[in-house]
């Protein structure tokens, strides 16, 4: 069976993803483009005996990229060796902005790619009295034109039929200005390219990553020799195309252009109001946090007890011993530690998808831009920062829509300061231990401290953004020009698919690491080389004559831990963490939770020989009665507790975030700087707090 690769290209906000979801249904998956973490959505379907492989490219207004997102579009389309390079391009536009989509269509055709044209959002257009003359449009574009409404399933079958269409030859509508003909000629000679427009594109792009670096450098030399500014070429082309479309495209779309005091305009009077807009936004944030913490509670409890039951019944499958321990304490506990976060992450993405789908997200960007700009961020940083309150991993990925390199980098670097859901279990346990259950101004003190920790995260993120802004230089001007689409009812199917993608991304991505760490921890905690580990039973019996059976078991277990490989590691770093108020057992927790913060509580549970985190109260009681052998005071007193809270607020204790930052910034340097800065800052904050408070 033949397989055809189809790329879906289009302007943002034209319903392209709805169209993609309608075409592929559930036969789709999210992945990454090689080398970059731009989310790539692909799907398959078969129609009339032909197998289609559909690629959903990021939204773009034209072929010239101004963000990392848009660069993917250029790379996939220009590079014939790219694994995603399509056999046919489907350009999607909306009837209200048809010219803009036609501009993109022209560029793609002139690159030498076959393409068909889709005008989506037919229903909305009909309601507004906008009509498209398909015959005229087909003639003007010399290709097949299909009218669709992805929401109501109109035209989907016609579109599938049209995918076999082979467009006829295309005459360029953008004459390359004569002043550049010698430069174009030189580019064609150096690259061996025969297409004038492609040569023009090579000349007008800052990066041509698909070309050999030597050729790319030669193009730069040609540009310099002819005093060509690539930005000016892009502007010249865009303006020339718009002017031509204005003159030759008058009869294709019938737009009564009557004054439309529409739903969106009325809603925006409130939602972007200079006072009420902010009140509504913060109320919505409050609702989201409320939902994440309270609504996901029952689900998390259910998952917790399911895994406790699973571990209990699994322990009967094998006789007591290493395999049993690996299965129950290592693997099942590890998987449980991943699955437990699913309700919170899914909940967050339900809200984020609803905000994106409805068009509200661009209003958030609009409202927040003024307040984030002084910190070297953009309004578009609001989305990563908000998502950072759930998990830094998807949050860092969502920074890719920020056009300005500097703003994007700062956003990525500071987002991990936001209080992610993995910090929450630590905060709750420690606050429960060291903050009295008093009331302050009628509010619960413990709750206030928890709120304070969130505020601290925001302050740390904004503060370090401000510092980075002073230190970093940029050649790019920061700008914000953004379309605010009309409000739409979210397509539930899109929301659910997005939530599913993001949640599975977390489970598989972060899950692998958490699971691996759990197993490594178990191995390090279960083996040792010293005499006191291997002969623990005998030595305890000799040293504690007349000990009861239960006390004997506990003593053996804790001695084994102390002299296991894990205990040895904890005691090794003890000198460094003692000034922070921690002992070697907490050191184990710190080391283990370098992989992921949420590991801390379960590690402490293991360390204090409790064997599981199922019964939170007993862990707390056990932690409360734990005595620091160095100071003779409780391990979790006010000073060391505050120190620990500050450490976890600031330290980069998350390997998955480190990995994603490396991928997104494509730089080890920034990744290491971020790690060193966050952990160093955390260390000194914790040190100061403990030394002042002890």
């Amino acid at each position: 069976m033949t397989e055809l690769k189809i790329a879906l290209v289009g302007n943002p906000n034209v319903g392209k993803s709805t169209l993609f979801n309608k075409l592929t249904g559930l036969r789709q998956k999210a992945g990454n483009y090689p080398g970059v973490t731009i989310e790539k959505k692909t799907g398959n379907f078969t129609h009339q005996g032909i197998k289609y492989h559909l690629i959903d490219l990021p939204g773009a207004y034209g072929i010239h990229p101004s963000s990392v997102d848009e660069e993917v579009v250029y790379q996939v389309l220009v590079d014939e060796t790219n694994p995603n390079h399509p056999d046919l391009v489907v350009v999607v536009g909306d009837p209200f902005n048809l010219k803009r989509a036609v501009l993109l269509y022209q560029q793609i055709r002139e690159m030498g790619l076959p393409a068909i044209f889709v005008a989506n959002m037919l229903d909305e257009a009909e309601r507004a009295g906008v009509a498209i003359d398909v015959g005229k449009l087909e003639k003007a574009l010399s290709t097949k034109v299909i009218l669709t409404d992805a929401r109501s399933n109109k035209g989907i079958e016609a579109l599938k039929d049209a995918l076999q269409f082979e467009p006829t030859t295309y005459t360029a509508s953008f004459p390359i200005p004569d002043e550049y003909s010698s430069a174009i000629q030189q580019v064609k000679e150096r690259t061996g390219e025969r297409n004038d427009y492609l040569a023009w594109l090579y000349l007008s792009q800052k990066h041509n990553r698909h070309l050999d670096p030597a050729v790319s450098a030669e193009i730069s030399t040609i540009r310099e020799a002819h005093h060509i500014n690539y930005h000016r070429l892009q502007v010249q082309e865009t303006m020339a195309r718009h002017t031509m479309l204005d003159t030759h495209f008058t009869n294709v779309v019938k737009d009564p252009a009557k004054k439309r005091e529409n739903f969106t305009e009325r809603l925006d009077k409130l939602l972007i109001h200079s006072f009420w807009g902010y009140i509504i936004f913060f109320a919505l944030l409050l609702l989201i946090f409320q939902a994440i913490y309270s609504w996901s509670g029952p689900f998390m409890d259910a998952i917790d007890s399911a895994f406790a039951w699973l571990a209990a019944s699994a322990s009967g499958w094998f006789p007591p011993g290493p395999i049993n321990g690996l299965l129950t304490d290592g693997i099942i506990a590890g998987i449980g530690g991943i699955v437990i976060f699913i309700p919170q992450i899914a909940m967050l993405f339900i809200f984020i998808s609803l905000m994106e789908e409805s068009g509200y997200m661009s209003r958030v960007v609009y409202l927040m831009d003024r307040w984030l700009k002084p910190f070297g961020l953009s309004g578009k940083s609001a989305v990563p920062l908000m998502s950072g309150a759930a998990c830094a991993i998807p949050a860092v990925m969502s920074a890719r829509t920020i056009e300005n390199d500097k703003e994007r980098l700062i956003t990525i670097l500071v987002t991990p300061f936001m209080t992610c859901s993995a910090r929450l279990p630590i905060y709750i346990v420690i606050i429960g231990l060291v903050i009295p259950q008093d009331r302050f101004l009628g509010l619960e003190l413990q709750g206030l401290v928890l709120f304070g920790m969130y505020a601290l995260g925001v302050l740390a993120a904004l503060g370090s953004a401000w510092v980075l802004k002073q230190l970093m230089k940029t050649n790019y001007k920061s700008f914000l020009i953004m379309e605010m689409p009309t409000y739409k009812y979210p397509v539930i199917r899109n929301v659910l698919l997005n939530v599913w993608d993001k949640t599975m991304g977390f489970v598989v991505g972060a899950g692998k690491i958490i699971l691996a760490i759990s197993v490594i921890l178990w191995v390090l905690g279960s083996f040792g080389v010293s005499e006191r580990f291997n002969n623990a039973e005998e030595l305890v019996r000799v040293e504690n004559p007349g000990i009861s059976d239960e006390a004997f078991d506990n003593e053996v277990q804790s001695q084994k831990l102390e002299y296991s490989l894990l205990g040895t590691l904890g005691r090794f770093i003890e000198p460094a963490i003692e000034p922070l108020g921690y002992d070697w057992k907490m050191g184990i927790g710190l080391i283990a939770s370098f992989a992921a913060r949420e590991v801390f509580v379960s590690t402490m549970a293991t360390v204090y020989s409790l064997g599981g985190t199922d019964d939170e109260l007993t862990i707390r009681e056990r932690m409360a009665s734990e005595i620091n052998p160095n100071t003779g005071r409780p391990s979790y007193n006010f000073a060391s507790g505050i120190s620990l809270l500050l450490f976890y607020a600031f330290a980069m204790q998350c390997m998955s975030t480190i990995a994603i930052v490396r991928k997104e910034t494509n730089s080890w340097r920034w990744t290491v700087i971020q790690l060193a800065f966050m952990t160093g800052f955390a260390y000194f904050a914790a040190l100061l707090a403990y030394q002042f408070l002890k």
Binding site: H242, T243, A257, K373, K477, F479, L480, E483
Partner: protein, 85 residues
Amino acid sequence: MTMRAISQNKSISHLKKGEVATITGYVSNEVPLKVYEMGLLPGVVFTVKQQLPFNGPICIGIEGNPNFVALRKTEADLILIESLS
């Protein structure tokens, strides 16, 4: 192609909420490509829908386009206009 001569120095940021204007040109050649791509081109008629306080971003509605466009004051400064209201 040359840009239209700059006949006056009024830019989008001089407009108040509700005012209608048409674009006449640009202050410099360094205007971000997005400005052109969004359709903020000479001859286009638009209405200022809103501006956020403390020199916050400006929201404009281009004639015939139901979607709004938001831009910062720094970008609005670059786009020259002629007031129609």
